[in-house]
């Protein structure tokens, strides 16, 4: 009884204390953008949201296509599916990738299942990207946060059904994509269901060759419902299911036979404009990912191998937006989560007992944290912001078997308890009617990942080493700063920024000559160690122009330089890259020409198996128009990507596997 009371009062405290920019925005997304521009991020995301909007107009694109066009983001590619996002060259445990604020840990030891694969563009309401200095409010991280917000059921007065059916085809992989969305609302209730099916065959690259093991097939379905309690509050339930199978990874020695994700959440949301606590939500969530890798279909494998993995995460958070007075606002979040991981490998040698080991020995991570983002509009020209975050993280091996595994590596106590501290300050100054600038400084920490702490002979196909974990690793610490200017006029805007990030205890694999590699043909074993330091510096700029009401020009440019403490280049750093698009809207038809240009990448890390990557320039041509079919709005889009059938790969593509060549696509979308 007492416990129950404590629990209730605790959750009440959370609610009371947690008022702020909750992820749930109003249904009017443009308003949310405006809101966000002032409040949350120092990075003027309005610019970014407009860019997102622009790229989303191409409705055949995958989420990955959209992400890859943001200047702060790059994607690590191991196959044609499941690319891993990196924010300013930081990825994995260095960043948060959230779905509606929920933590989802992949179940694949090779990071083939980033959380981004569970959200289809159809189900994406909006995308929040916060870079280093402000990107830790949702969870201690040195690289920022990518939060994917799923579509929200729309409430209409009275009963109403509406929806979308779309179907697309792409020629390079002879792939199809069918999607269906249905929104139903009845007074206080609203439901939104989406379903999507993708099937892709091995794709052809520039020149015509086919990449074996680049196929995939998946279905994704989601269901969301809201019940309006009163004018300001609602209960929301979400469920996302994702089943993938026969997913090839040409850059890896194995494929994914079957991958299943189940994501569920229940939240209470409150939205009352004009009140000091004008928005809050409390959310309870759970998700499970299961992932089965095997090499059944690969020819000439020395030993047949299975690698299943499983992750289970429970969490809750409360967040709120609070208007202290006319000048000050606060976003507060308090959260807790628990993640359990286990992955194993079994090899079958005929005539012998199976060879079995845990690659992620059973481990759990419990995390409790609170963060806030405070903004103070000092006067009409100055906007000051500060972000804070504290996390208590406890990780441990959770079975005798797991402890036995790690003891082989020479570690008897593998439990870790850390307090992670993050703080940043941002000053935004309006210099003139058309010029704004922003300076930001921050300090952030992040916990080593399960792989870095407890990984057990995990093969890295990029550098050819088996990796073993190191439970003694310290958290990475980052000191970073960024300066940006935004020039905006009636016909467009231009943003340019520079950033610098110094990372202490930079976690990296170091060759361990006393260990012998487990994987046949591997170069040796690397153990995760903390380098004294590493630094990342870069520039990002974006230009959005609308010289005529029918003409849009979008161009982004980015460049990053990463060095370790010896001045040697860091691995997986994208070269100078520009993406430019020009779109002209004729009376009904639009025409868009896009170029993607990447410079050579010569600053490479040979230690990590990298080689030089050649630059390239690609041209894409897109078009589309809308018409009425059976009285309903219908969009038809078509185009050709990689118009000149260039054979190329990006520097971040593992194994130098070439990307698709000329790709014609067509997509039809019918709204009812």
């Amino acid at each position: 009884m007492k416990q129950l009371f404590l629990l209730v009062s605790f959750s009440l405290c959370l609610q009371a204390g947690a008022q702020v920019p909750v992820s749930t925005m109003s249904d009017d997304s443009s308003r949310s953008i405006e809101l966000r521009e002032i409040q949350v991020s120092s990075k003027e995301p309005g610019n970014r949201q407009r860019m997102l909007h622009f790229y989303r107009a191409n409705q055949s694109s995958t989420l990955e296509d959209i992400l890859s066009r943001l200047p702060e983001l790059s994607l690590l590619r191991r196959g044609s599916y499941g690319m891993e996002p990196a924010i300013r060259s930081l990825s994995g445990g260095q960043i948060n990738v959230l779905v509606d604020g929920m933590r989802i840990h992949g179940a694949c030891t090779d990071k083939m299942d980033p959380a981004t694969i569970y959200i289809e563009p159809l189900n994406l309401e909006n995308l929040q990207l916060q870079t280093g200095t402000t990107g830790f409010v949702n969870g201690s991280a040195i690289g920022g946060t990518l939060n994917l917000k799923t579509a929200i059921p729309v409430c209409h007065p009275g009963k109403k059904i509406n929806g979308t059916i779309s179907s697309g085809y792409q020629s390079a992989a002879r792939s199809i994509h069918d999607a269906f969305q249905l929104n139903y609302s009845a007074n206080k209730w609203a439901f939104l269901g989406t379903a999507s099916y993708r099937k892709s065959n091995p794709y052809r690259i520039g020149g015509g060759e086919k990449i074996a093991f680049s196929q995939y097939e998946k279905i994704n379905y989601s269901f969301a419902s809201t019940f309006r309690l009163n004018a300001f509050s609602r209960i929301k339930a979400d469920y996302i299911g994702d089943n993938g199978w026969n997913t090839g990874y040409p850059a890896l020695p194995m494929d994914v036979g079957y991958a299943v994700a189940r994501i569920g959440a229940l939240s209470l949301q409150h939205d009352k404009p004009g009140r000091p606590v004008y928005r809050w939500q409390v959310k309870l969530y759970a998700n499970q990912v299961r992932h089965y890798m095997d090499d059944t279909h690969r020819p000439a494998v020395p030993v047949h191998m299975d690698m299943p993995g499983r992750s289970l995460t429970f969490g809750l958070f409360a967040e709120g937006e609070l208007k202290l007075n006319s000048r000050q606002e606060l976003h507060i979040i308090a959260d807790a989560s628990s993640t359990r991981l286990r992955a194993s490998m079994t090899m079958y040698e005929p005539g012998q007992l199976p060879m079995y080991m845990l690659t992620w020995p059973d481990n759990r991570k419990n995390q409790y944290g609170a963060g806030l983002n405070w903004s103070y509009r000092a006067d009409s020209n100055w906007l000051l912001q500060s972000a804070l975050r504290l996390d208590y993280v406890s990780t441990a091996l959770s079975s005798r078997e797991a402890k036995d595994h790690i003891s082989v590596l020479g570690f008897t106590n593998a439990s870790r308890n850390e307090i992670l501290k993050n703080i940043s300050f941002t000053a935004n100054r309006k210099l003139s009617q058309w010029l704004k600038s922003s300076v930001s400084l921050g300090y952030a920490e992040r916990m080593p990942t399960a792989t870095e702490l407890y990984g057990f002979y995990l093969f890295n196909a990029q550098d050819g080493y088996d990796y073993t974990g190191n439970p003694g690793l310290k958290p990475e610490q980052s000191i970073q700063g960024e300066v940006s200017v935004l020039i905006h006029g009636k016909k467009g805007q231009f943003r340019a920024g520079v950033f610098y990030n110094h990372i202490a205890h930079f976690i990296s694999g170091a060759v361990n000559p006393s260990f012998s590699s487990m994987t046949a043909g591997a170069n040796g074993v690397k153990t995760y160690e903390a380098l004294p330091g590493a630094r990342l510096a870069g520039i990002e700029s974006s230009l959005l122009l609308k010289p005529l009401s029918r003409l849009d020009i979008v161009s982004t440019l980015r460049y990053t330089d990463g060095r370790d403490h010896n001045g040697d280049p860091l691995p997986m750093i994208a070269p100078l890259k520009n993406t430019s698009s020009v779109r002209y809207q004729f009376s009904k038809v639009f025409l868009q020409l896009e170029t993607e240009t990447a410079a050579d990448q010569r600053r490479i890390s040979r230690k990590y198996g990298e080689d030089k990557t050649n630059g390239y320039i690609l041209f894409h041509l897109r078009s589309g128009f809308s018409f009425l079919l059976a009285g309903k709005k219908t969009d038809l889009q078509f185009g050709v990507e990689n118009l000149f059938d260039k054979k190329y790969h990006e520097h971040l593509d593992w194994g130098n596997v070439a990307r698709p060549g000329r790709n014609g696509y067509v997509m039809v979308k019918w709204q009812f």
Binding site: E349, P354, D404, L409, N512, S516
Partner: protein
């Protein structure tokens, strides 16, 4: 009401705990050979003592066998826990006979009601017959006697007994793998026993060799980290650590040195689990 529950609860737990621990202790006291297999039994004529031999293995295997001998007064049936026991294993091959390495019980007082000892059967039964002579001096009755028990020795699925003729002195050495007896992924105890055959009836423990052990998975060609080479700890027993990074078939490659001279580098034990 609530208060009384609060007070009573710890007592309940405590009493349950005591009960549980008491029970488990009783059990152990009652049956020291629980989980063991009785290999053989007989009466030591003259000592008025019944002899029972137990092993934690279900069979007597070629190699090192740890035995636990239980003695009973043949008249009263009471346990005899003060006795002097001497073993003599004999291999009778018709044309010839030889003995084998053994370890008599160290103490004349039983440990946990039993007398631990060992015999290293250097070959399986088949080309001859093994017998084990047990001489008992019952200190309770101060009577002496002996018995001879036949023993059937079989080769285990994976050999735990190797021998070699040393390159440095031409002597024949017998190596037994004692641990790991139940291998698992992780750090395992490694224990070898080394005996030197000086004559058909003389098989003393050897402490003169140094041993290097490198585990390997033959089908994968990889080893494991942080192994500890076995070093002599007494009575021909060498103890170290062997680490297994996965289940499957492992080969423990052994090199034996006498000072800087190579004794043998060709022997290994296979362990599969």
């Amino acid at each position: 009401m609530k208060k009384s529950v609060c007070i009573l609860l710890p007592f309940c737990f405590l009493s349950v705990f005591i009960l549980l621990t008491a029970c488990s202790k009783d059990k152990a006291d009652n049956n020291p050979t629980a989980g063991m297999t009785k290999i053989s039994e007989g009466y030591a004529a003259g000592a008025a003592t019944k002899v029972e031999i137990y092993s934690k293995q279900s069979h007597v295997n070629t190699g090192y066998n740890k035995f636990y001998i239980a003695l009973y007064d043949s008249a009263s049936g009471n346990r005899v826990e003060e006795a002097h026991i001497h073993l003599t294993p004999v291999m009778d091959m018709g044309m010839m006979q030889h003995n084998a390495p053994f370890e008599n019980p160290v103490s004349e007082t039983a440990s946990g009601h039993l007398f631990p000892c060992s015999v290293t059967f250097v070959m399986p039964s088949g080309s001859g017959n093994w017998t084990l002579e047990i001489e008992v001096h019952n200190h309770v009755t101060d009577k002496e006697g002996s018995l001879v028990l036949p023993v059937t020795v079989t080769d285990p699925a994976k050999s735990r007994q190797q021998s070699f003729t040393a390159m440095h002195n031409g002597a024949k050495y017998f190596i037994s793998l004692i641990e790991p007896s139940s291998p698992r992924v992780g750090i395992n105890d490694l224990e070898l026993a080394i005996y030197k055959k000086e004559a058909m009836d003389s098989w003393p423990a050897d402490s003169s060799l140094t041993v290097t052990m490198i585990p390997e998975m033959p089908s994968m060609g990889h080893s494991s980290p942080n192994n500890v080479n076995p070093v002599h700890t007494g009575n021909g027993h060498y103890k170290g650590k062997v680490n297994f990074t996965m289940t499957g078939l492992w080969r423990l490659n052994l090199d034996f040195m006498s000072g800087s001279a190579v004794a043998d580098t060709t022997r290994f034990f296979d362990v599969e689990f």
